[in-house]
């Protein structure tokens, strides 16, 4: 067994030193370098907005507005925080404000409506082997993951996305959502287990299995 957080890698931003220099130059007025600075984080900013809004078009508008806002307030960024976290916090705030403005009635799943303090018992014990990351290159796998995530109640989905998709730490997640570190841990545990249950059921029915007519996997 081993810690999963340390096992995978995202393509990250420019190395710390390089990024700091880039930030300093943008803060000094070289705004034409801003895109270069945020380019590695576009996906994460969009993902944060999408997790809250669950609508592609709204998420894009909000993500882009958040990045424009970040440019307008770049001088307020302080090096004590991670730049990626600062961007994501702006995106989350923008998305929450957008949702409030819209007063959208979002149909939430009944998943996880029970008391979050109560323990969560897994419902499915399907045997999962390790799924190679290459599986994500298949659209149906990504769709399956997206569908499962959208079935989570908002409070679990937001914590899970900030922690496991955006990879904020517990404190950063708590600060961004305005909840306690304990609540982050409790909701994260439940979110991970619920997603495992949602995906494990499909696993047994072969959602991850290779296409039946691929070479070497003929059905006859």
């Amino acid at each position: 067994m081993g810690g999963a957080q340390a096992e995978f890698h995202n393509s990250g931003p420019a190395a710390g030193e390089e990024e700091s220099q880039l930030i300093a130059r943008v803060q000094a007025g070289h705004t034409d370098l801003f895109y270069e600075l945020v380019r590695p984080y576009q996906r994460r900013v969009y993902a944060a907005a999408l997790a809250i809004l669950r609508n592609d078009a709204d998420a894009e508008d909000v993500a882009q507005d958040a990045l424009l806002k970040a440019l307008a307030h770049i001088r307020q960024f302080r090096a004590e925080a991670r730049f990626s976290t600062w961007l994501i916090q702006i995106a989350v705030n923008e998305a929450l404000m957008f949702r409030r403005r819209r007063r959208t009635v979002v149909m939430e799943s009944i998943e996880g409506r029970d008391d979050e303090e109560k323990g969560y018992a897994p419902r499915d014990f399907a045997d999962w082997r390790e799924i190679p990351s290459e599986a994500l290159e298949r659209k149906e796998v990504r769709q399956r993951l997206t569908e499962a995530l959208s079935r989570l109640d908002r409070k679990y989905r937001e914590v899970f996305v900030l922690r496991d998709v955006e990879r904020l730490n517990i404190q950063e997640t708590a600060q961004t959502l305005g909840i306690s570190a304990g609540s982050v841990k409790t909701r994260l545990l439940r979110a991970r287990l619920m997603l495992r249950d949602l995906l494990a059921a499909g696993w047994e029915q072969g959602w991850y299995s290779r296409a039946p007519f691929e070479k070497g996997n003929n059905p006859w």
Binding site: G3, Y35, R43, E60, A63, Q64, L68, A126, D127, L189
Partner: protein
């Protein structure tokens, strides 16, 4: 330390985050070794964390970066210019895209089944399909982003020309006509020139800055 399945389910998330003390970690690992159900729970939860944490899970919408660059450029143009040389990497890329689009003339891309706003409105023809155009609010007209008619509008959206035409939007008779005329002239005049390493005086010799109506004439800031 004796561990039960419920303890594993309660701590599995902390365990994966490396947030359990060594004695609990050891007890959890020993329990999981002999428990098929807890092995399934741990493996599955680890898969969940790994798959959702992979950058391939969320895809940016097509054209997201292009639209962002356009907005950033627009914002930079509205605010004070930054110091230093004006040739940023993406300005160069945008200029290259415009020049490239100029060479890709396509014919008749209109969707006649979509009703037009006015009997006088004409569908877009001879417009490069990949040209980025701007639409304001619920307007049925699309413009090139520099068009004065949409200057300062806050509810601008950008899209490719082919998408705008497909939606039944019609080109702005003012800016699109001028743009296409300029591009035709530029396509005829354009020669590939390597400007890397040139200073301002050398750039002025090779760039067509004598044409007052030249679109987006490159600017070298002091």
């Amino acid at each position: 330390m004796v561990i039960h399945c419920e303890d594993v389910w309660r701590e599995v998330s902390n365990y994966l985050d490396g947030d359990v003390d060594p004695s609990l970690r050891q007890a959890l690992e020993e329990h999981v070794k002999g428990c098929k159900h807890c092995t399934a729970v741990l493996d599955g939860t680890r898969n969940v964390v790994r798959l959702y944490g992979d950058e391939r899970f969320v895809e940016l919408p097509a054209g997201f970066s292009q639209r962002l660059k356009l907005k950033l450029e627009s914002q930079a143009g509205a605010g004070r210019p930054g110091p230093g040389i004006g040739w940023s990497a993406w300005t160069m890329a945008a200029a290259a895209a415009i020049i490239l689009a100029g060479g890709l003339w396509i014919s008749r891309a209109a969707n006649p089944s979509v009703p037009q706003q006015s009997a006088l409105a004409k569908p877009g023809t001879d417009i490069p399909p990949d040209l980025l155009v701007a639409v304001s609010g619920s307007s049925r007209v699309f413009h090139v982003p520099e068009c004065g008619l949409i200057h300062g509008k806050k509810d601008l959206k950008t899209m490719k020309a082919q998408e705008a035409i497909h939606q039944g939007l019609v080109p702005c008779v003012e800016c699109l006509h001028q743009y296409l005329s300029r591009m035709q002239r530029r396509t005829r005049q354009w020669k590939a020139v390597d400007v890397s390493g040139l200073d301002r005086s050398e750039l002025e010799k090779v760039l067509p800055n004598s044409e007052a109506e030249e679109p987006r004439a490159p600017v070298v800031r002091e």
